[in-house]
């Protein structure tokens, strides 16, 4: 199973995301933002970082990258797409996910290990988890406050589209403690924290993040 990871100018976590795919048992494929060829991948990850220096708004310019045209089309066809941190911002800017991410309410960059509660274990990226399961993964963002209007938040909750919530202190002012959301179909997931940094005991707070990547591989095997 091939999972592509898109590198934009300013991406930071693309190599970590590729490693996570490999450790989960998949084949990681490097994709370049300026290309328009998905190289036959079965799923795509938009990694964390500061694409285009966060100019204008986080993810606003990356959205118009040639590769994103392909990713949006593939997402509409049902291909699993995961956006982590800056990738989540790009997915919101691309209108693949509702809402937006704004500067942390306390105005400081936050970097810490964060407990999350999995709220939806039926998306393409969370099927390896149980609903209610708590996982520990690194969180690092300056503009991670998830916001949407009340009607959209109610809709997301009503349809079970909140994928994960922060447990304990809300790290960034995200409304209703939302750390991640999914689209109607469950193939596109955006997550502010970084599961790709929690896939090995040596380099992370544990291996709780691995489930996102094994989920996608399992989902792909099922649909083959």
């Amino acid at each position: 199973m091939k999972i592509g990871v898109v590198t934009f100018p300013g991406s930071l976590d693309d190599v970590d995301a590729q490693r996570a795919v490999t450790i989960a048992g998949g084949e990681a494929v490097s994709l370049w933002h300026g290309d328009q060829d998905l190289k036959g991948v079965d799923a795509v990850i938009l990694p964390g970082g500061f694409s285009y220096g966060d100019y204008l708004r986080c993810g606003a310019i990356a959205r118009f990258a040639p590769m994103m045209e392909e990713v949006v089309l593939a997402a509409h066809r049902g291909m699993p797409v995961l956006g982590i941190c800056n990738g989540f911002q790009i997915l919101c800017e691309s209108h693949l996910l509702p809402g937006a991410l704004i500067r942390n309410d306390h105005r400081k960059f936050v970097c810490r290990d964060q407990v999350l509660k999995i709220e939806n274990a039926s998306t393409a990226w969370t099927s390896s988890y149980e609903v209610g399961q708590e996982i520990l993964v690194p969180l690092k963002n300056g503009e991670g406050g998830f916001i949407a209007d009340e009607a959209t938040l109610d809709m997301l909750e009503g349809e079970g589209r909140v994928v994960a919530r922060y447990v304990g202190d809300n790290p960034n002012g995200s409304l209703r403690d939302i750390a991640g959301v999914t689209n109607e179909r469950g193939n596109v997931v955006g997550l502010m924290p970084h599961p790709e940094h929690a896939v090995e005991d040596l380099t992370g707070p544990g291996t709780d993040g691995l489930g996102f990547f094994t989920s996608a591989l399992a989902t792909l095997l099922q649909t083959r």
Binding site: L56, P98, D105, R107
Partner: protein
């Protein structure tokens, strides 16, 4: 050549941490009369040729698709005179 100005502001109900930070600095500088500050962005677009309604409509489209995020921001378009 003419210039079109696009102002982008965070929607009133959206928290504006940058504006808050600026506001917080004012009393420390001795400015006490300011009740609130909200920070936005101003874009100056140099246009080729005369400004027509069609051009302004196009600028509005630019403002809506790239310069602002309608989920969190409002924009206004005006011709610079």
């Amino acid at each position: 050549m003419a210039r079109v100005i696009v102002d982008v502001m965070p929607k009133p109900e959206i928290l504006d941490p940058q504006g808050k930070a600026v506001h917080g600095a004012l009393p420390r500088l001795g400015f006490d009369g300011v009740i609130d500050v909200r920070q936005g962005k101003r874009f100056e677009l140099e246009m080729d040729g005369e400004i027509t309604d069609a051009i302004l409509e196009e600028v509005a489209k630019i403002a809506e698709t790239l310069l602002s995020n309608p989920v969190i921001e409002d924009y206004t378009v005006k011709v610079d005179v």
